[in-house]
């Protein structure tokens, strides 16, 4: 085979592989017909907003209006090894926020990680967990966000290695990552467990997205299912995110009530373990949940012994 032929064959293979990856990494949004019509429940939407911790990432950048109840207008830097992202404005402003989004746009974004423009969101946005939510809860969350005051805040483009090309590659790479990860599964109801346990399991695994930090990931950054909530290196690279397995047996907490108190009151009740590494903001969000939901989370967590998930 001559050098020219070899080069041609290589070119064909490369193009084939690239084309194949391009096809494989394409986003597959769901159709509008798959989203149920719903009379939204704003109170439930607010529960999902706080359980989901939306404000932690979508909070306004320092210097912009910050108060006791900041609006999720986005702009605070989110640093990843691939670059710096600025979580967008999710207030209902039509130009700079999500005010023009349809229900199916919102479901595709939150549960499938696909923007209305048809590109993949990078998985720093925890849609792999939100993908386990009931679609009714997601629609209520949208209604709640739409009930907030609209804020004008332009989206800041990410600062990536290799700029726009790097961003495009990252987004396409995310498509391949989603294939490896598989579709998120809805949370099964365990008839042999109590109501609060089941509610807690749902809040922890779906909107609460606890596993995004508390579950270790494999080499392709996919959370390891059999190591669920067993603790992981801190995403910032300093220290560890602790294991949530056997919290009572390991004497981290006395019982489910103790865990509930820690989540609800944090340092006001002398629980200082939760305020570092980002958990402080999580605790602030969780403290806004109805008491029954906080207790449900605590019931589920207190029952985690390794075998029981």
């Amino acid at each position: 085979m001559g050098a020219k032929t070899l080069a041609a064959v290589m070119l064909v293979i490369t193009a084939g592989v690239a084309g194949g990856l391009y096809v494989l990494s394409a986003p597959h949004p769901v159709a509008a017909s798959s989203v149920p019509r719903r009379l939204p429940d704003l109170a439930n939407g607010q529960v999902m907003y706080n359980a989901g911790g939306c404000i932690s990432c979508h909070k306004p950048a320092a210097g912009q209006a910050e108060g006791d109840a900041p609006l999720p207008s986005g702009g605070t830097a989110f640093n990843t090894p691939a670059g710096t992202f600025y979580p967008p404005n999710i207030t209902p402003d039509r130009e700079t926020g999500i005010g023009a989004w349809s229900d199916v746009d919102f479901v595709n974004a939150v549960q499938h990680g696909i923007s209305p423009q048809g590109t993949h969101y990078i998985p720093a946005f925890p849609y792999s967990s939100y993908g386990r939510m009931k679609v009714e809860d997601v629609l209520d969350l949208k209604a709640y966000l739409f009930s907030l005051p609209a804020v004008k805040a332009e989206r800041r483009p990410p600062e990536m290695l290799l700029g726009a090309i790097g961003e495009a590659m990252m987004r396409r790479g995310t498509g391949l990552w989603k294939l490896l990860r598989g579709e998120p599964r809805r949370i099964a109801h365990h008839a042999d467990e109590s109501g609060p346990w089941n509610r807690g399991a749902y809040l922890v695994k779906a909107p609460g997205h606890c596993g995004e930090c508390h579950t270790p990931r494999n080499f392709s950054m996919i959370p390891i299912p059999h190591a669920f909530l067993q603790g992981a290196p801190h995403p910032d690279g300093k220290g560890k995110v602790p294991s949530l397995i056997d919290l009572v047996g390991r004497k981290r907490y006395k019982d489910a009530d103790d865990i509930a108190n820690a989540l609800q009151f944090g340092e006001t009740f002398g629980y200082d373990k939760l305020s570092s590494g980002g958990m402080g903001a999580v605790q602030t969000n969780l403290s806004k949940l109805p008491e029954g939901d906080i207790k449900a989370i605590a019931t589920y967590l207190a029952g985690l012994t390794g075998e029981r998930q």
């Binding site: 340092e267 009740f269 570092s276 590494g277």
Partner: protein, 148 residues
């Protein structure tokens, strides 16, 4: 004792004192950890009242709040430049990068503990506790590493 001997003994004692304080000063990390531990212990006592495991008693609240206030006052001087290394510590480099925010956060906690020393009745307790807990959390959130 002759004057000279007194002088020798005195200077000897002084040398020992200086050496001891030098050793102590050489380890601000351990000192501030001891201070924070004492704060945590006193805070735990106040938390018992918040959790209604213990009855409100103005005198013990004042004593615990005073301990917190004193220890925070001590801690203030125990974060010198460069004391992010040399001993196991959860202090984040952000303390020295953003010193003014750190100092303000610590001062907020000091003020909240001072306000707690002025609590005389049960209905003043929880609001003061919310402020104090919030101040602890505010500083820990920003300036303390997650546990190892």
């Amino acid at each position: 004792m002759s004057n000279r001997r007194v002088l020798t003994v005195a200077s000897g004692l002084m040398a020992v004192t200086l050496a001891t304080s030098a050793v102590l000063a050489a380890s601000p990390i351990e000192d501030r950890q001891a201070a924070m531990k004492a704060v945590g212990k006193a805070m735990g006592e106040l938390a018992k009242i918040a959790k209604k495991e213990k009855k409100f008693d103005a005198a013990t609240v004042k004593a615990d709040a005073q301990t917190i206030h004193d220890k925070l006052g001590t801690a203030k001087g125990l974060f010198p430049e460069g004391s992010d290394k040399g001993h196991k510590t959860r202090a984040l480099a952000a303390i020295w990068k953003d010193r003014s925010t750190f100092d303000a956060a610590l001062e907020r906690a000091e003020k909240a503990s001072l306000a707690m020393t002025e609590v005389t009745s049960e209905d003043q307790f929880m609001p003061a506790m919310n402020k104090l807990g919030g101040a602890c959390k505010n500083c820990h959130d920003k300036f303390r590493k997650p546990e190892e």
